[in-house]
Subunit: 594 residues, 2 copies
Amino acid sequence: MNEYRAPLREMQFVLSELAGLNELASLPGCEENSPDLVEAILEEAGKFATGVLSPLNRVGDRDGARLANGEVKTAAGWQQAYRQFCEAGWTAVVAEPEHGGQGLPRLVGTAINEMWKSANMAFSLCPMLTNGAIEAVTLRGSDALKATYLERMVSGEWTGTMNLTEPQAGSDLAAVRSKAVPQGDGTYRISGQKIFITYGEHDLTPNIIHLVLARLPDAPEGVKGISLFLVPKFLVNDDGSLGARNDVRCVSLEHKLGIHASPTCVMSYGDNGGAVGYMVGEPNTGLATMFVMMNAARFAVGLEGVALAERAWQQARDYAHERVQGYNPAVRGGERIAIVQHPDVRRMLMLMKSQTEAMRALACVVAAAMDKAERHPDEVQRAQAQSFVDLMIPVVKGWCTETAVEVASLGVQVHGGMGYIEETGAAQHLRDARITTIYEGTTAIQANDFIGRKIARDKGAAIGQVIADVREVAAACTVAGGEPFSRLGAALNTSANALTSSVVWMLRSYPEMPGEAHASAVPLLRLAGLVCGGWQLARAALVARRKLEAGEDPFFSAKITTACFFADHLLSQADGLAHCVMHGAPATLQGVLD
Amino acid sequence: MNEYRAPLREMQFVLSELAGLNELASLPGCEENSPDLVEAILEEAGKFATGVLSPLNRVGDRDGARLANGEVKTAAGWQQAYRQFCEAGWTAVVAEPEHGGQGLPRLVGTAINEMWKSANMAFSLCPMLTNGAIEAVTLRGSDALKATYLERMVSGEWTGTMNLTEPQAGSDLAAVRSKAVPQGDGTYRISGQKIFITYGEHDLTPNIIHLVLARLPDAPEGVKGISLFLVPKFLVNDDGSLGARNDVRCVSLEHKLGIHASPTCVMSYGDNGGAVGYMVGEPNTGLATMFVMMNAARFAVGLEGVALAERAWQQARDYAHERVQGYNPAVRGGERIAIVQHPDVRRMLMLMKSQTEAMRALACVVAAAMDKAERHPDEVQRAQAQSFVDLMIPVVKGWCTETAVEVASLGVQVHGGMGYIEETGAAQHLRDARITTIYEGTTAIQANDFIGRKIARDKGAAIGQVIADVREVAAACTVAGGEPFSRLGAALNTSANALTSSVVWMLRSYPEMPGEAHASAVPLLRLAGLVCGGWQLARAALVARRKLEAGEDPFFSAKITTACFFADHLLSQADGLAHCVMHGAPATLQGVLD
């Protein structure tokens, strides 16, 4: 398996030219993020990803994490890599400086996090979950909790987890049954079983901080009766030293299709009287807090899609350049050629490359909007940015992960028979990617969020703004004129029409025919992803056109070809998807599934 | 994991109503295949698949085949199942009765083979390869070879293998380097290394008969210098008893993404002076013989796509009926519901079901044409049937396998988090399916065969006939009229237009712009698959409509809804694919892939 190399020039291009890194540096708290500094940070991160994390990716997949006597042993090399990761200060780059974080903009954090995920997704899940816990405690934790836990999670000394799922409560968190009984001293005793807990137990740090959804004894039924608790593996004494072992244990590990090195734990709380827990936020508001974390986590999982697509693409591209097989069908009696010259291998690689670039661009544009939503001095600007972020999170999560599975599968195909052999490494990317459309809310959950809270609730205002922006880029392509820009503009416009009709249909159907609306939710999400991807690549092509006026540069010419490929091979699906949205629901609902 | 149950009523419907089982029974040699007899055979096969093979599927995946001291140990239960399989006479149901076969029509053999593949694909590969070897020896073997080997392969006493691939010769068999040196006594000494040899070594039978591609010392370069040899693991004495161990060994097993229980061997020939081999057919015609076998093998792999889709569908459907989660979005304050009631789960299941039914119908129609091509008394009819079979084999192989990967991936998704856990079994179907688009010629190899030998060579005659047949069915739908038939007819017609334009483009481009033609080959193959699938489901809907005149039957009403779903969700992609075929090639060829 090849080692991952961070696509630094591509990332720089996206950050500077598409996501507005320069404007970002004028936001309060971001002043220090000059392009030079960001370049230096990304370069360092890239070295760490290539040198430390990437070489452990295959080892981790092969050996996995193992459970013995309630303790989880991570794969060989994991402990040392984690120590180096903390020492280099990579644990919580976007966390607030007051708690020891580096306070980097989310945009920069997004590029850095993509690298960890590409290099070693199973490893990256540990800091990702810790960051989620940090966000929850920062947002809703009492001062005492913050003082005790925050800094040590930010430094990586302790890690964090999210405990939502129970056997009967997967997508439907209203069904959570874990209990929390108040002890009269401000603490609670937590009991219940949680499943699918990522890094719920491991040997990387001396303590693990679990955030757990549970119900108070008098809590109402359903989602309005769920509270959030912080439950440390070891209680913490007043002097900060570790105290008694808490009543929480990992009782088994799942045997999964992929991310073998990431321990997926069944956690048992309160087998011996109840685990000591501390409430985070107000009673019965746990789900709201989890949702704040979950939005960050959904974005992060969407980014996993980008990252795994990038890794699969790098590996398939390198193999296609090395592997010699067959002849050019257009040349009689020629030499054997590298398979990268075979037209269908090119088609597959271009599908991988163009979609990866489109996904990264969209994810970074959304990340920049998060920074703006948090930090812009103007309230209206903040609100606009936030509504764009809210609209786009299910698209980034749903579209980037579904696409990543396809891209990783293409990566296997490019390798031919070797792709099916585990040692090659291409299959691991497919196995690892396959979870991303499921956890943190399946694609259908994303799509339901998209059509309900994100489209119907504001009567299409936010998505209308996106479509207007897409049309503006299409118009700019048309104005640029000539081949291929006029064609690019037309393709983008056509796909925007398809999205518009589909959204209009959805706005009408959602209140009147909820079954039909939900039946068309995923095709609409996919259509929105395609249009947004085409939008970003067309923006990139327009930038490249301008840059090329200053002189030839293959990097910029490639941007134009890639946008054209995406238009011809992917935007061309837009009308079919719109048909599916607007006409496909009745047969879905009437279908016989005995 | 659920046990597989053969879809007997569906198979009967397809055989009788779509593939013409009754007319087949009038062909010479098929007279005994009355519908009643076929029904009884399929029922028995279904019992064997459910009772013996299906329960070993997960065991085989978990334990895999293991190599120790040059010997391969199959998974627990494998030996007994193989013995039962032979005793029940399932080894070579379509082989000639004169060699101990049952002489069943290929159509019936197709339905039976689908069951083995669904129940336990890794197991089914052993008889599948043996059948390939039987075909080669039957077609081209000398009388002496036939007398010594055929009956014992047909009975399953010995198994057979196909040895094509070498490290440098994958898709490109012209690069084969294995050598065969004549010994002057009619035998040859074979040496070289072969990789990816399915069941190249195992403990199921006392002997294994390898068919091996190799070059004579004076052979010309390239594909015209390859001969075919039969190389038994143990030499056979004149009295039929086993003699000396031959100079061929399994030197390692591949660690694969799926089909773990099927040993994929690296075979070394001639480490100690050369393996004794016997030529099959004339010198330097090995590839032609292999191609005959390969056509059967390609069809069989396409059928693996059907079979794995069926298995994945059954498992996802059952889970969706059992798993309770969430509420109906259309009902306020209702009860929790089984996930089969969630619109997007329905959409996924209908994608699985409709495509599986479409693929099976197409595969069976092609199998029936094989019988006709072999047995019809009229030469013109035989030739027409053969040209349909030749055209369709790359479609069955390419489209059914690509679709199977998607269907198996949907099966994982329907299970949510449980789908990612190996014990559930859904992930195994995806892992097993992932090889089918690769071996026996990748999808691109199928597509290149499709556009070259199957479309360009006869100037579109065969595919023109298919399109005419599709239009006839579309017209019948329109004539039937009313909803949904008029819409079904229109959708089918539109997709036939898309295919027609694409074929016209291909006929023009293939000779003039081979690069462009090959860049559009896979999209064209996929389009052809979709149109043929829609064609078969529309035929099914028309039959169902007629049957429903005699009275209500949910089986037949479902046929109509399923055809509509396929039209709305899959035929709607036809225009996009045609765009891709006709306009997508330049960007594919110009794309920058550094």
